[in-house]
Symmetry: C2
């Protein structure tokens, strides 16, 4: 039994705004009285299921997002640097395999969620900071190594991530997100008095804090709270 | 000559998020060292010109926005109550005439902008709080009366708002917004060191404050700052 409010974070490493949201909620994990649950899911499935279109397809929106991400990166203190060809990365390469790998790591992890947190962060870093591949087994392996997984854990996760069980698990999480009303990521679900309250994007934290009875202290409450 | 930073607010009374943004920036007008310029424009022209689609057309997004607006309304202390049929109001009736009326009021006003501010607010109140018409001359007349315009000023504005001069003026503002990169409203343009910095939506004020060297104190800094 716990009196902490459960907050679920649905995300996909394809989404830079999800990275911002992820880092902020990770920093607030200890500041606020919340029980944070990572919910890796597949954004492609969300867009398809909700009949939504990626915002970057509107040219003015794409230019704005590039600028907005640059400003937010500094303000949020998250080292975002868009890849040379974001369209290639987001729409051609995609992150289905990457999110299956994250799901496998989460599935294997016991007694905590440090691994799924760190592996997610390292995959974001590859795509949205270092312009490196995040589709191949060797890329997942590198990310997982940086995240602190042992060689045998990495080997196991790489095998597991192509299994039907993991494919189904990711699909299930994506479907759950849709049931909550998702149309994009990041999506935060706060369970307040047994009712799910949805917040979309990385710009609703102040409002969310107000809803869960906590205080918003800006995107980086205590610079030592997060090591990026 | 003034050392105040110029902030332009592009808006249309069809947009509830523009109302939130409008009230917040009006409240900060005296808190921050800014020279606020109201830029009434036509959102329909922006969506068309930018090739964007209204967010409410995606069902999950529409449900979320309804909820998000309800929460934000309370938190921002702006009395938003969606009309019974938002689609009718936004897409069938539209606000071309209303924005021409606002443009006429702004065109006529000398030595200030209290009238354009109040008329805009009263039109938002009609559409987004009281579910009243905002397409007919008598509706504009009522709104303007509440906003404090005299009968002769209202008569003049009603005549003026169908003139070619005013139609062109609204069109010109809309085109200017597109040149700044607009794809929706509210759009705030902060002129910083001679360079325009664009902020979209009513959820970037904290970031904007950071960019213009001011402090964000939440959406309602001093409850007496705004009379709604």
């Amino acid at each position: 039994m716990t009196s902490k409010k459960v907050v679920e974070l649905f995300y996909d490493v394809v989404s830079p705004y999800s990275w911002l949201g992820f880092e902020v909620i990770c920093r607030y994990r200890k500041v606020w009285n919340i029980d944070l649950k990572f919910r890796p899911a597949f954004l492609g499935g969300i867009m398809h299921g909700a009949g939504n279109k990626p915002p970057g397809l509107v040219p003015n929106k794409f230019s704005y997002m590039t600028k907005d991400l640059h400003r937010a990166s500094k303000y949020f203190d998250v080292p975002l640097h868009p890849p040379t060809d974001p369209f290639e990365v987001m729409f051609k390469k995609g992150t289905l395999s990457a999110m299956r790998f994250v799901t496998a790591v989460q599935h294997m992890e016991q007694g905590g969620d440090k691994q799924v947190e760190q592996v997610s962060r390292e995959l974001w870093r590859r795509i949205w900071s270092e312009d490196k591949d995040a589709t191949k087994p060797e890329s997942f392996s590198e990310a997982a190594k940086k995240a602190g997984l042992s060689d045998s854990e990495i080997e196991k996760a790489l095998k597991l991530c192509t299994s039907q069980e993991i494919k189904d698990k990711l699909k299930h999480s994506t479907e759950e997100a849709l049931k909550y009303g998702a149309f994009g990521f990041p999506m935060l679900i706060c369970h307040i008095d047994g009712k799910p309250e949805m917040f979309f994007g990385s710009d609703r934290f102040e409002l969310m804090a107000n809803c869960i009875g906590e205080k918003w202290l800006g995107p980086n409450p205590g610079s030592s709270a997060s090591k990026l």
